[in-house]
């Protein structure tokens, strides 16, 4: 499997939870979500995909949105974590740490190649 496809596959199931987790701190607009993800390494490749993702999270009730005025320019749509979104983040966190520990046990050298 090409390493590119592998990274995409790994990202896919995780990124929406990363977005939800970021919204836990404070409501954000799409551009802010992208900026934050940019600082977290290689999680997001095509930044534009964040918008359909946010739209889906809203359709599924994990986030709520509200328009807010900006001092300059057009109003922005802010995304806020809903109650079911909070639960999804908590569920994912438990699942993720279990999963990570299992993988780390299989790769005990901490990912360094021999």
């Amino acid at each position: 499997m090409p390493i590119d496809g592998l990274a995409t596959q790994l990202r896919k199931g995780v990124i929406e939870y990363c977005v939800l987790a970021m919204l836990k701190e404070a409501p954000l607009y799409g551009g802010e979500v992208i900026q934050l993800l940019r600082t977290k390494g290689q999680i997001l490749v095509s930044e534009g995909t964040i918008y359909p993702l946010l739209s889906r999270l809203r359709s599924e009730g994990f986030v709520e949105t509200e328009w807010r005025d900006t001092p300059t320019g057009a109003p922005r749509r802010y995304y806020r974590l809903s109650r079911s979104g909070q639960k999804a983040v908590a569920d994912f966190r438990d699942e993720w740490f279990r999963f990570r520990d299992s993988v780390n046990e299989i790769f005990p050298d901490g990912g360094r190649q021999k």
Partner: protein, 201 residues
């Protein structure tokens, strides 16, 4: 870069995005295109000096419109099972309504459903049997008790009246109570086994 050229680039990008998203519901398509349009506008206004390379990098970072559309489409596909799940809920609601009004049909649907356990199905069938038609049938026998009591002493009439009144209240509340119980015990049957409940997948 001239402003005209820059606007052409952005316009072409958004047009490609519109075309790639053409098969999505209009509301979804507009939402995504509008958000990306304002994203581009905000990023452009933050650029100190907009250059060809700057704008092209911005569009590159956003990614191929086909990729954005693929993400949007995967969301729509994932929502399909959710629509099926809603239909299933409609069926369960119908079951509960028929349990009250057309008991035999309701009971058949109850036993055919996978939303309840056998124990819940037994309880739902027996408490009370017959739904409201059954309750009315039972209550229609009350005049017989009343006429029996009428022949006896005064305190007997009062006691029978009080007991029948209480039983009537219980009988009238029972079908509704059972429906509420079954509604709270209802399980969503189309959930994938092992799936984290409440996850966005």
């Amino acid at each position: 870069m001239t402003a005209v050229r820059a606007n052409q680039l952005v316009h072409a990008y958004l047009l490609r995005l519109e075309i790639e998203l053409a098969d999505l519901p209009a509301a979804k398509r507009h939402e995504i295109v509008d958000e990306i349009r304002s994203h581009i506008a905000a990023e452009r206004s933050a650029m100190v000096d907009e250059s060809d390379a700057g704008l092209m990098n911005l569009l590159d970072r956003l990614g191929d419109p086909a990729e954005i559309a693929a993400e949007a489409r995967s969301g729509e596909e994932r929502r399909l099972p959710a629509a099926g799940l809603r239909r299933f809920r409609t069926l369960e609601v119908l079951t509960l309504a028929l349990m009250l009004l057309a008991w035999p049909v309701g009971v058949v649907l109850l036993w055919a459903s996978r939303a309840w356990s056998t124990r819940e199905k037994v309880l739902g069938t027996l408490l009370p049997p017959g739904g409201y038609p059954g309750v009315l049938l039972v209550m229609s026998t009350f005049h017989w008790f009343v006429s029996m009591a009428d022949a006896g002493p005064k305190w007997g009439q009062t006691a029978v009246g009080a007991v029948l009144f209480t039983v009537s209240l219980l009988l009238l509340a029972a079908p509704i109570g059972m429906c509420v119980y079954l509604a709270t015990r209802m399980r969503v049957p189309s959930q994938q086994p092992g799936e984290v409940r409440g996850s966005p997948r």
